[in-house]
C-alpha cells in the first residue's frame, strides 16, 4: 500500500508542478461558467437558461474534452517510464507491477478528480451565488451527479490509456493509439450505431439495440446526465435509444464503473504478463 501511495504521490506532484492540474481546473471552470451564462444565446438572450439545459450542454462538451484530457494525462504512464529507462529500475525495487500500475492510476485518477471537483465545483458555486432564481437543491444534485459521472468517465479513459501504454514500446505509437481510441468512442461509434439503425430498416432486434449504447462510456455518460431530468425530448440522435433502456440509473452508474474497472483489470493483466 505504501509503495502504491509513493507512486501516486509522485504523479500528483508532477501534475501540480507542470500545472496540468491548474490548467484542467481552469478549463473546466471557464467552460462551465461560459455555458451557464451564454447557454441561452441560441434563443436570443444572454443569461442562465435552466439547470437541465446547462448540464446537458456541459455533458455534450464533456464527452469531447474529458476523454481527451484523460488519454493525454495517462497514455505515457508505462511506456514513458520505459523509454526513460526507469521502468526497469522501478521493477528491481520492492514494488510489484500491479502496485506500480495501481499507483499510477491513483495518481492520475486523483489529478483528474481534483481538477473536476475544483473546476466544476467553483462554477457550480458561482452559479448558485450569482443567479437569482435558481433552485439550489436541484442545481446541487445535478452538479454532483455531473461531477461524479465526469470523474468516472475520466477514470475509464485513463484505464483505456493504460491498456495502450502497457502494450506498446514507443511513446508516439501510444499517442497515436490514444487518439484513435478517442476518435472511435467520441465520433465513430455513434455514427456506426446510427448507420446500423438506418441500414437495418427496423429489422434489428429492438430489445438489443439500446444495450449497444452501453458499449460506449461516453453514451452512458450523456444518458446519465440528460435522462436524469426525465426529459427525453432532450435526447437526440442515437441517444433516443437510451429512453428504451430497461436498466435505470443504477445500471448506468454501474456501466460507468465497469468501464473503468474492466480496462484497468485488463491493463494489470497485460502488464503482469509483459516481458521486460
Amino acid at each position: 500500500m505504501n509503495s502504491i501511495w509513493t507512486i501516486a504521490r509522485k504523479e500528483l506532484s508532477d501534475s501540480l508542478r507542470n500545472r496540468w492540474l491548474m490548467a484542467i481546473s481552469l478549463v473546466f471552470a471557464t467552460l462551465a461558467l461560459g455555458i451557464a451564462w451564454f447557454g441561452a444565446a441560441a434563443s436570443g438572450q444572454v443569461g442562465y437558461a435552466s439547470t437541465p439545459a446547462t448540464i446537458a450542454s456541459l455533458a455534450s462538451l464533456g464527452i469531447f474534452l474529458i476523454p481527451l484530457i484523460a488519454l493525454l494525462l495517462a497514455y505515457d504512464a508505462i511506456v514513458g517510464e520505459e523509454e526513460g529507462g526507469t521502468l526497469l529500475l522501478l521493477l528491481t525495487y520492492p514494488l510489484s507491477r500491479s502496485q506500480l500500475l495501481l499507483g499510477k492510476f491513483l495518481g492520475h485518477g486523483l489529478t483528474l478528480a481534483l481538477a473536476t471537483v475544483i473546476g466544476f465545483g467553483v462554477a457550480g458555486v458561482a452559479i448558485a451565488v450569482l443567479v437569482d432564481d435558481v433552485a439550489i437543491a436541484s442545481l446541487a444534485v445535478a452538479m454532483l451527479r455531473f461531477i461524479g459521472s465526469t470523474v468516472l468517465l475520466g477514470w475509464g479513459f485513463i484505464a483505456l490509456a493504460y491498456l495502450i501504454s502497457v502494450r506498446v514500446s514507443e511513446k508516439p505509437i501510444a499517442a497515436g493509439l490514444a487518439l484513435a481510441i478517442w476518435f472511435f468512442f467520441v465520433l465513430i461509434f455513434d455514427l456506426l450505431l446510427l448507420g446500423t439503425l438506418v441500414a437495418s430498416e427496423g429489422q434489428f432486434s429492438a430489445e438489443l439495440l439500446p444495450w449497444l449504447l452501453m458499449l460506449n462510456p461516453t453514451d452512458i455518460y450523456r444518458l446519465l446526465n440528460i435522462v436524469a431530468f426525465g426529459d427525453s425530448a432532450q435526447l437526440s440522435g442515437v441517444l433516443s435509444l437510451g429512453a428504451d433502456l430497461p436498466i435505470g440509473f443504477a445500471g448506468l452508474w454501474l456501466g460507468l464503473v465497469l468501464w473503468f474497472a474492466i480496462p484497468l483489470a485488463g491493463a494489470l493483466l497485460l502488464f503482469r504478463n509483459r516481458r521486460i
Partner: protein, 310 residues
Amino acid sequence: MSCFHLDNVSYRYDKSPVLTGIDLTLEPGEILGLFGHNGAGKTTCIKLILGLMTPNQGSVSVLGGHAGDPQVTQHIGYLPENVMFYPQLTGREILNHFARLKGASLQQVPQLLEQVGLGDAMDARTKTYSKGMRQRLGLAQALLGKPKLLMLDEPTVGLDPVATADLYRLLRELCEGGTGIVLCSHVLPGVEPYIDRAAILTDGALKAAGDLAALRRQANMPVTLSLDPANSISALEHVIDRASSSSGLIIKSDSGRLRVDVQPRDKMALLHAVMASGEVADISIHQPSLEDIYVHFIGSGGLAHRGGSQ
C-alpha cells in the same frame, strides 16, 4: 549465505537460447567482473538475478531467498546502463522518491549525494545534468539502503578519471563491509585491478570463471619477458637458445632489447638460466592482462561474427 547462486541456469527467448547451463556464485565481500561481447547474455544474467525474469531451467537464489521477492530486492542495489531520470525533478527529489520505494531512510539522501559528488547540484533539475552527473545520481540510487548485493552495469561511463578512482575506492569500502558487487564493463584495463574474480560469457555460455591467476592458468597463455642485454644482444640470444632448446620460444628483438614469449611452465627455468649467464642487465615480466585473457576466451573474431543485441 552467498549473495547469489546460479545453478545450471538456462534461459530462452522465443526458443532461441540466450543462456545455457550457467553456474555462478558470488560471496559477500567479493567483487565479480562479468564480461562478454555484445549479446553474450550479461544483461540477461543480471535480469535473472534481479528477478525481472525467471529461468526456463535451473535455479536462482539471491541473498538466501528467491530472486524478485520484496524482502530480497530491498537489499539489492542496481545501476542500469543509460538511465534518464525524470528530467523535471531535482536530484534530491528523485533520490527521495526511490528511497521511499525502497523503504530506506530519507536522511541518507543528502549524504549519498555528497558522497557521489553531487552536493552542489542536488537541488538542480536533472535535465540540466551532464551524462557523468546522471551516472553519479544512478550510483547514489544504487547505494540507497546499504545494499548487500550491488549490480553495476558500466558504472564508469561518463566519469572522469578522478571520479572513476573515487568510485572504485568506494566500492572497495563497501566490499570490506561485506557487500557483494557485480561489475559489468567493457573497459577491461580499468576494472582489472579492482575485481577479485572474473566471469567471461560468450554466446550465452560461461567460458571461464575464477580469479585472475586461475584464469591465466586455464588460458595457459605465454608470459612475455623483456630483457636488456648486459653485453651484446647476440650473446643473450645465444643463452636463451640454449636454455630453451626443447620448447620453441619466440624471440623478437626491438631497439636493443629482447622480447621472449615463454610458456608459464618454462618461465622459471629460463629465468634461472638467463640470470646465471650474467648476460642480462634488466628484466621485466609481462603477465597476460585481463584483456589478453578475455580475447583468448572470446576468440579474436571480434565484430565479424558477434552480433545480436543485449
